[in-house]
Amino acid sequence: MNTFKWSSSRVLLVGFCGLVGVLLMGPTLIVVPLSFTSEKSFRFPPEGWSTQWYENFFTDPNWYESALLSVRVGLAVAVLATVLGTAAAVALSTGRGAWRGPANGFMLAPMIVPGVITAVGIYYVFLNFGLTQGFWGFVLAHTVLALPFVVVAVSASLNGLDKALVTAAWSLGANRWAAFRQITLPLIAPGILTGALFAFLTSFDEAIVSLFLSGPFARTLPIQIFQSVTADIDPTIAAASTMLLATTGFFMVVLGVITVSRNRR
């Protein structure tokens, strides 16, 4: 229903949005060519090409160990945050009573409180708990930050879920647990999966809390990158982030395929 003299303004709009798209993607994608530079510089465009920075990534323990730690933490956070977040979302959606509003707000608070504030607080407390510079410190802190995303994703799924389906299952002889397992869980699985992915990415990308929690024996990839950025010209970051891009892209595509194939039937 948009004919008439729209077309010129429409062209303008599309053009403008194209520029916004470039602005969004440019800084993300610029690291790809930079990662193949032959010089120890971030000159753009690069003058020669090599794969030395990828080599460096896999031979320098600072890089690959931090990457490994980030993956391990990310996976643990994905599991922990998904389980806890799903539990919370289920409780929030099935519960009755005045406690739900505040509880929901509290669950989402880590998303709202400015990162640096959470970071300082967690740092101070974790220092006393002996949780800095260690796997579990990262896992706990990141889980706190990832929890809201899982709660939001799973809650959205639960809200979209027709409650009558559960009631129907009851009427057909399924008790609470059976109905949850056979009806609710499969139907909110995409939400849970999305939540898990968000949790993993949140942890994998987290820097401000990690900045405080990191130490010589436990440094996550973003912190390794930050230190590298502030300490040295080292195109290894470009290599690292190119691989990051590829890995995340792979996960996204897998998730996409899963959802599409789910929807198809």
Partner: protein, 307 residues
């Protein structure tokens, strides 16, 4: 088919259930409610407790000549430098929010009117930045914006010299805008797609030109979505550390940098906490105001959106 109603088998259990106090009974009827406790516990220990500790520290931990219960707050509010930083932070947050809105609104709007395939592509573009690391993306701006970088070369080519893009709030605004744009576009898109576009058609049929219909009908309905998106961006900017740290300069520092400096360089937990709580309070005030405005605005009509 052998089943029949087994009321008799069930009644003892049901009877005891009825006899129990109501809270226990309620829980037993909604056992899923119990699931909230573990996540709540984690948040209490690893989130609320740290914040409380900071709150305590802001009243008890002092460095230098500061003292008195409110010493840290008085110091923060009474130091010119700190107030300059606070004002600057708000200015930057305001700019970033404005930039995000200017860039994000047309984008989100376009998303609501293109076909599903194109929309998927546009969502992909918005989400792409999340695939790479925040620090890397911010650093990419250093590469792009520095004097020897491509953007400056471009500017030189068209005759603009001496425009400093790095080490000041311009750089921070550019970087933060790009980083935060998705946080505006996504909720705004959700809100905009909830607006019934047939209202525009209705307005046309009533004699409104497209531009008038857009301004008089569409924009007012988009206000809650705009408020939701912009308040998120504004609040996130207040807490940004890496972007100003990499693209800005200590001479143009924002509160987040100042908090880190206080805590991490001067080990002034009390002062850092005091700054943090002032920011936190401002955050809540902003959220509260936005919520209030939205609610009042929306009380008159329902669009089905949610903040």
């Amino acid at each position: 088919m052998s089943v029949s109603v087994t009321a008799t088998d069930e009644s003892p259990d049901a009877q005891t259930a009825r006899g129990r106090p109501s809270i226990v009974r309620r829980l037993s009827r909604r056992p899923t409610t119990l699931l909230i406790w573990l996540p709540l516990l984690l948040l209490a220990v690893c989130f609320a407790y740290p914040l409380l500790q900071m709150f305590r520290l802001s009243f008890t931990d002092f460095v230098g000549s500061t003292s008195g219960v409110f010493g840290n707050y008085l110091w923060f509010l009474g130091t010119d430098t700190q107030m300059t930083i606070l004002r600057r932070t708000f200015a930057v947050a305001g700019w970033v929010t404005l930039m995000c809105l200017i860039l994000g609104f047309p984008y989100a709007y376009l998303m609501t009117i293109v076909g599903p395939r194109m929309r998927l592509l546009m969502v992909g573009v918005v989400l792409l930045p999340f695939w790479s690391n925040l620090v890397v993306r911010t650093f990419a701006w250093v590469i792009l914006l520095r004097d020897s970088g491509p953007v400056q070369s471009l500017l030189h080519a068209i005759g603009i010299d001496d425009l400093r893009l790095l080490g000041n709030t311009v750089g921070v605004t550019i970087g933060a805008t790009q980083v935060l744009l998705p946080f505006l576009i996504l909720p705004l898109y959700a809100a905009l797609s909830g607006i019934d576009r047939s209202l525009l058609t209705a307005a046309h049929s009533l004699g409104a030109r497209p531009a008038v219909a857009f301004v008089k009908v569409y924009l007012p309905l988009a206000v809650p979505g705009i408020l939701a998106g912009t308040s998120i961006v504004f609040i996130l900017t207040l807490g940004f550390y890496f972007t100003p740290a990499l693209l800005g300069s200590p001479r143009n520092s924002l509160v987040a940098q100042q908090i880190v400096t206080q805590v991490s360089e001067l080990l002034a937990f009390g002062r850092g906490s005091a700054i943090a709580f002032v920011v936190l309070i401002i955050t809540f005030v902003v959220l509260g105001l936005v919520g209030l405005v939205t609610r009042r605005y929306r009380r008159s009509f329902e669009t089905g959106l949610d903040l």
